[in-house]
Amino acid sequence: MGLIKNIKSYSEGIQISAEKREILTSFLSNGFPTTKDEEWKYTSLKKVIANEYSIENKGTIIDSSVIEKYSLGLKNKIIFSDGRLINSPSIKGVNINGFSEFESANTDSILQLNKALSKNGFTISVDKNTALENPIEILFFSTTVNGFSQYRNQISIGENSEVKFIERLQNLNNSASFVNHFTQINCAENTKVEYNKIQNNTAESQLIDTVNVYQEQDSTCNINTLIFGGSFIRNNLNFEQNGSNCESNMNGVSILNNNQLADNHTFVDHKSAHCRSNEMYKGVYLDNSKGVFNGKIMVRPDAQKIDAFQSNNNLLLSDTSSIDSKPQLEIYADDVKCSHGCTIGQLDDDALFYMRSRGIGIEEAKAVLTYAFASEAIENISVEQVKSLAKKLLAKKLNVDLDFSL
């Protein structure tokens, strides 16, 4: 059996449009990517798709204490429970709805599957000249045992508007859930968007998360990805810069243990001149965990005066953890500034001794150094609540009682 068969038998019993049926057929004939696929060389889906999943959501009702537990307590909350939109705030200048159909570049079979069978997700459109003071928190809860869920979300930001989001997917049981998450963000001229992803799901959770960002001139889009929990996480962040003076920023912090795997794939397509991109990914790997980073930067022939920077720094804190890191720069313009850097290292013994000599225990000293290592990326987050949650989760993950504040 396995996921492909689950999908086949599920899709036989439902009504979908001819177009979707065609996309589904194409997906079924291609199947999920394998490690023979260049984009999936270091990350195998084999085990993930071998499991049995429940495709129809068979959830139970969640109560407000659950929401409180996982929420950052922000005023504007969009809440999904097993795919159903159960809460949506009313905000001046912002239209929030449930799932809607939209066109997307279905570049891989995972997005084909998402296009063909998704029926849940949000649609947010922000009017022009709207600057939201309060961030929008988006929570997806799942109570379905071994659920396979797909969400398909679209955000359109009107000219001169500014919005911040925080997104969290949370499984409410310990089963091996699997989510195929897709979000498309359209940033009109002179917009500012910050999207924070808190990936701290239960130990057996699995996720493929794809974000396609389309930017018009003078827009800035920041995506921050915090990875703490979940057995399998693959993030695909794709930016397309379609106007001058765009800025795309990505910050990532992964702190993994046990047999966790997190794969961050980023792609910045510099199609216009005078744009910037900046990536800072920090990974910390304990036990048998594994990280993958693949950062692709494409500078098209007319995209002169591009300033692109990418860094991927990794700490391997055990003998059996690993990281595969691959920068991929394709530059077809001649007047650009592109650089990348990758480091893999361990904690500095001299620094550990220094801290221990000040009374800081070895585990705490390791945690402080790990925090110090990751803090550069954490400090780039502008939402205070996300920043302090990141610090808390880091301490929790490293099993220490420290708060890293002051």
Partner: protein
Amino acid sequence: MLQIKELKAGIEGNQILKGINLEVKAGEIHAIMGPNGSGKSTLSAVIAGKEEYEVEGGAISFDGENLLELDPEERAHNGIFLSFQYPVEIPGISVSNFIKTSITEKRKAQGLEPLPTKNLLKMMREKMELLSIKKGYLSRNMNEGFSGGEKKRNEIFQMAMLEPKLAILDETDSGLDIDALRIVANGVNKLRTGDNATIVITHYQRLLDYIVPDFVHVLHNGRIIKSGGKELALELEEKGYDWITKEADKKWA
């Protein structure tokens, strides 16, 4: 307070300390002098508990407890402080955060609640004043981009905050100009009480003009070859080390 008996220690199979005997009592200041490579920094590292150093023989007790059985952090909790010759840069951690963490951890080990932030900041301000440290310093990253003098001053600042029973100042004078030297020495003197003790490790007599020792020991080739009062430092300044090291070399040949 501190008793070192026949201490033999080394690193990677090379014996550096070849039988050190030293007793430090509360309220005392001891200076350890000696030429390069005599084992001064090894001695301080062994007292603080640096793991690369192997203790091959002898004993160290601190307040009656066997120090060699304790982890470096436990030694710090018991009141030992080492001012590093080369303080380590820790980017990403502010001075205030670092000090807060070390004080909190020390208090935790003593079964005490963390100090309220307000009290902690007040204490920091007082100690900063004592050491003429400028504002804005607390939010800088630990030792990152600090000048040699700033690093040393930061060591003494931590010492002032942690209030150790025994402070070992390992070449705290190196890298300090004369004004900074005076400020640091002044800080050390003001922190002095009848209950704490200091070991000053230095090459030069200069620091001892400001921090006046009760005892001066000359370390050479892993042994204390001569001990005396503060006048010994002056004699060394005048005559150099040769006159005693030659004699010692003959004796231990």
